[in-house]
Amino acid sequence: MNALRKGVQLLGLPVLLIALWWVATVNSDNFFWPPLSEIAGTFRETWFTGRFTADVLPSVGRLLAGYGLALVLGVGLGVAIGSLPVLRAVLEPVLEFFRAIPPPVLVPVLMLFAGIGTTMKILVIVSGCVWPILLNTVEGVRAVDEVLRDTARCYRLGRRARLLRLVLPGASPQICAGARQGLSVGIILMVISEMFAAGNGLGFTVVQFQRTFAVPQMWTGIILLGLIGVLLSLIFRVAEARLLSWRNE
């Protein structure tokens, strides 16, 4: 009974929305809003006849590589910047400056240094999703209670212990919030990076469908991007729950 209720809660709204979409477009002759039945019908043939390994997997691989790098960089730099006010003051305007530059205009510059291959695309992903992680880490580290910090100092906890036992756990909810945003920004950038110099990938394929007016196929691409997002977010949630389990104890 409980599981049933949970299932209804989890799937109720999506099912309702899909039903609405289905009904609203069932007799649609609008070129850009094809009936949902038509979109569903083209899904399998569009993605599961070779494109999955040729386009989807390379994209996801680049996304994970870029995101992983951004996590390491973001948390590492974030802890450093968050704990050293002077460093933060020096770097903040520069970081803000780069963060405000939209990735599509940064791509040509990255190309000058990284060519047009996989490295460039991973760098584009890093260049976008590092910011929410970095910023939230800085915020989280700053917000660790001063009293706690002083206490730790009084007990003469070493730098390493302070970092591992106090700063990182204290900042972890904020870091997780940043990492979660970074993930969704990363998916956006996966698409953007494939708008430049790509020959394969999910984003590339969606843009191709868009340009060749293969509208039902384009919709399947948008839906697939959403599904991948859900999947990654589920994985993220599991990881987050494990990381933050101590808070609810």
Partner: protein, 259 residues
């Protein structure tokens, strides 16, 4: 406490370092100056741009689109965030939908936006609102989740009315998150505003950048990129100032008052 130079001076130092790198990299031949001109050439092009009415009009158009998009996203994000986060049933019922809609890249919505609104500012607005809304919403949801369960139960047992609960329990805890959401949202909105202008061609600095690219006017292109970056710095400074005013009582701000 040791006296340190004021933050603005340190920040200036950082920016000066960046300028130095930008000037030196093409000059020492690390990159071809045809593709990445030295900083001085960018400044020269910027001076040329600043003399045109088109530049100022585009700047205003960008700022207007940004403010409008951010405003809509903030209101929607905070209201829905408090409602969804505050009502457990709503939270469980919407989680899967939010998780599905949020990762859909706003750039994938560009053809839809163009279809609905053509190439004027509303297409870009749609993309800006879509992307910014989730940033704000997620922060608000995190903030609401951070509310002390004891405080919430107390408020409930004292039978505070829902709005009073929001005002006295939810809002103070969520406020730092809301402000982080505002700051992140402000930056994301600016990026999407420029990207939309760049990709769709709606009016603003992004379109100017695209035109400069298409005309092979490399220094002018970088000049405009610098302007966009500076707007970002200004936006962040303003958001931080807001945060500081609103959060004077919070540990992360309290500590920074100079001793």
């Amino acid at each position: 406490m040791r006296r340190t130079p004021p933050p603005w001076a340190l920040g200036g130092l950082g920016l000066a370092g960046l300028v130095l790198v930008l000037e030196a990299t093409p000059r020492v031949g690390l990159v071809d100056r045809r593709y990445l001109p030295p900083f001085s050439a960018m400044v020269e092009a910027l001076a040329g741009q600043a003399g045109t009415a088109e530049f100022w009009r585009s700047l205003l158009e960008t700022l207007r689109g940004w403010a409008l998009g951010l405003g809509i996203a903030m209101v929607a994000g905070v209201v829905l965030g408090l409602v969804i986060g505050g009502v457990p049933v709503a939270r469980t019922a919407t989680t899967s939908t939010i998780e599905f809609l949020r990762p859909i890249p706003s750039v994938a919505l560009i053809p839809l936006a163009v279809l609905l609104f053509g190439t004027d500012l509303r297409s870009t607005l749609l993309i800006v609102v879509y992307a910014t809304f989730w940033q704000v919403l997620v922060q608000v949801l995190y903030g609401v989740r951070d509310v002390d369960p004891v405080a919430r139960e107390t408020a409930r047992s004292y039978r505070f009315r829902p709005l009073t609960q929001v005002r006295t329990v939810l809002w103070p805890t969520a406020l730092p998150y809301v402000l982080t959401g505002f700051r992140l949202g402000a930056a994301v909105a600016l990026i999407l505003e420029i990207t939309g202008e760049l990709v769709i061609g709606s009016p603003g600095l992004g379109r100017q950048i695209a035109e400069a690219q298409n005309s092979g006017a490399v220094p002018a292109m970088y000049a405009l990129v610098i302007v966009v970056g500076l707007i970002g710095v200004a936006v962040n400074a303003a958001a931080r100032a807001t945060e500081r005013r609103a959060l004077r009582w919070h540990p992360s701000i309290r500590r920074e008052i100079p001793a």
